[in-house]
Subunit: 340 residues, 2 copies
DNA sequence: TTGTAGGCGTTATCAA
DNA sequence: TTGATAACGCCTACAA
């Protein structure tokens, strides 16, 4: 409380508030050298720091970007957010973050709070259905909105080509000779899951395989563990899938544990892969084959898009950030461990 | 831009701004039923949303809490932040966070920006030395400051007893019959590392072991991998440590990979443990023995402390959140895999 | 080069 | 129960 105001500085320095403002805000408005020196000394001495609320109000512009994500503690969202934050910091923006916890009510109050702050831009992560937006609604927000990892023709988006990712991964297994694939899905209604699965199915169809069975794992290790157990246990070796594709790394690692606990060897008895290229995936053994989404870059691109629009760019753009399959041990393509 | 203002609502509803304010801000000031109804309809129709900067300015109080952490993409900090965020959301606060990336300059600009926003409270995570605070300095901030995971008699802190944690972990291995421990440290200057190591040393001394060798791993999987390799390779079986204690789970998992790649079995040739109880640690195989820090609760406690002080509580408090050893497979205490 | 004063959108005090 | 109006702290024409 009771922070130093511009008026106090002005009085102490014996100048007007206008002069102090010009100096403190780093404006290029001309100020006498002697005056400047004196004022700067006072600012320093008093520890004056402009009140951002006042500045924003006066300038009609907050340098704030709001980020809405399902769960900040999730590695993927955390990385995307880091990407946003780095780019934001660079451009002089700050990040206001809210987790929705995948709950509709919480998503709504969080969104409301963000809008009251008059965030200059809003970045929405994840394809969940806890936040639903219509073009019209958003128009009334008066804020740039960018979607990451979610389809939405009406808004600017940054995504990886999820369908292609699924397709590439399935094809990789088919090329390795697999005929029985299975898919471990994330949560219901997730865009990422839907697209990846669609890609997997397409590859399977093209390769003449039967449609891969699907089990749901909610994007967690535990869910992946259970889904894999369902897929692998109580089946004869004949009908058991020989390759599991999980919609993210966390579930893939859970699946790996399940296979291990069932006495099945990875990749010999079951091959395995995930998505995200989480840092840890290179360090489990066998090392996890995965699909790199360049999470941080997704965030950086979104921020860049926002900056571009502020510059006058007006079209709705859809950026696609390239992903890449990262072949390690769990798919069985290599036979020996590689040292990172 | 051009968001609806209170004045526009007032005009449209044919009342004064004062009336609109009383309704929109949820004040309990009496307002006629008919008027209220009419105004609420206009608010709804126009999509009016109070400008928070203006509200804050007028009320001299932002409901913002700032969080400064080394790296939000790090699981531990992400979880603590989730804890803060949940408690904050509950209490009607929003969180503004910044990663310092462990760089001094970035920490400074981020801190400055947070202060300009007049955050009602500032929570600083991690024991790194990129942010150094003196009591006097902070007094001039005019903001509550709470430290998490960092010693600092001068400020309110929330910590786990790091020394005890290290001591407990080392004692666990000693009880299991180990005589040659080794420690994988995090980054230089880290409080967590210092305390845990100190606890490990104390237990070793008390148990009559020689001082454990230390290798540094920077808190990453890769660092842990390298540190473990240095500790385990090029040593005869006689002098090789039989148990590795890593200062966090990420390094422990890196160490596990290193052991595997060196053809050493965990826990039979080398036992292993980490700290943090990261979600993944239950799902690597062998499952990782670790020390649970209750990260989210650390954040929640910090937020609670802030709320208490706003209520008039004035003393500098030091909360210690209990931690617990989580015994799984990597330490060798169990012989068979347990299914989670 | 410096200062005066109006405005940014709300809240809150005081009258009516 | 309602309405003017003075803050809140800063920026920025416009004057001097």
């Amino acid at each position: 409380m009771a922070a130093v105001t511009i008026r106090e500085v002005a009085e102490a320095a014996g100048v007007s508030v206008a002069t102090v403002s010009r100096i403190a805000s780093g404006s290029d408005y001309p100020v006498g050298a002697r005056t400047r020196e004196r004022v700067e000394a006072v600012i320093e001495a008093l520890g004056y720091r402009p009140n951002q609320s006042a500045t924003d109000l006066s300038r009609r512009d907050t340098h704030l970007v709001g980020v809405l994500a399902p769960d900040m503690a999730n590695q993927y969202y955390a990385e995307v957010t880091r990407g946003i934050e780095d780019a934001a910091h660079e451009a002089g923006y700050q990040v206001l973050f809210s987790s929705t916890d995948r709950r509709k009510t919480r998503a709504e109050t969080a969104l409301e709070a963000l809008l009251r702050r008059r965030v200059a831009a809003l970045i929405i992560l994840g394809g969940g259905d806890e936040v639903r937006l219509t073009r019209k609604q958003v128009a009334s927000y008066g804020t740039e909105v960018v979607l990451i990892g979610r389809a939405g023709e009406d808004f600017p988006t940054v995504t990886t080509d999820g369908e292609q990712a699924g397709q590439v991964m399935a094809q990789h297994f088919i090329d390795l000779g697999h005929r029985h694939l299975a898919f471990i899905a994330g949560s219901r209604g997730s865009t990422a899951t839907r697209l990846r699965l669609s890609g997997v199915r397409r590859a399977a169809r093209a390769g003449g395989l039967t449609a891969p069975p699907v089990s749901r794992g909610g994007y967690t290790e535990q869910g992946g563990y259970r889904a894999a157990r369902d897929l692998l246990a109580n089946t004869t070796a004949r009908e058991r899938p020989t390759a599991l594709i999980a919609a993210n790394d966390r579930m893939a690692i859970g699946a790996m544990a399940a296979a291990h606990d069932l006495g099945l060897s990875v990749p010999d008895d079951v091959a395995l892969a995930g998505f995200d290229d989480t840092p840890i995936s290179a360090y489990v053994r066998p090392a996890l084959t995965t699909y790199s989404l360049r999470s941080a870059q997704l965030g950086a691109e979104a921020m860049q898009m926002i900056l571009d629009r502020e510059e006058g760019e007006t079209s709705i753009r859809h950026r696609t950030v390239d992903g890449d399959i990262v072949v390690r041990e769990s798919c069985g393509a290599h036979r020996r461990a590689t040292t990172p």
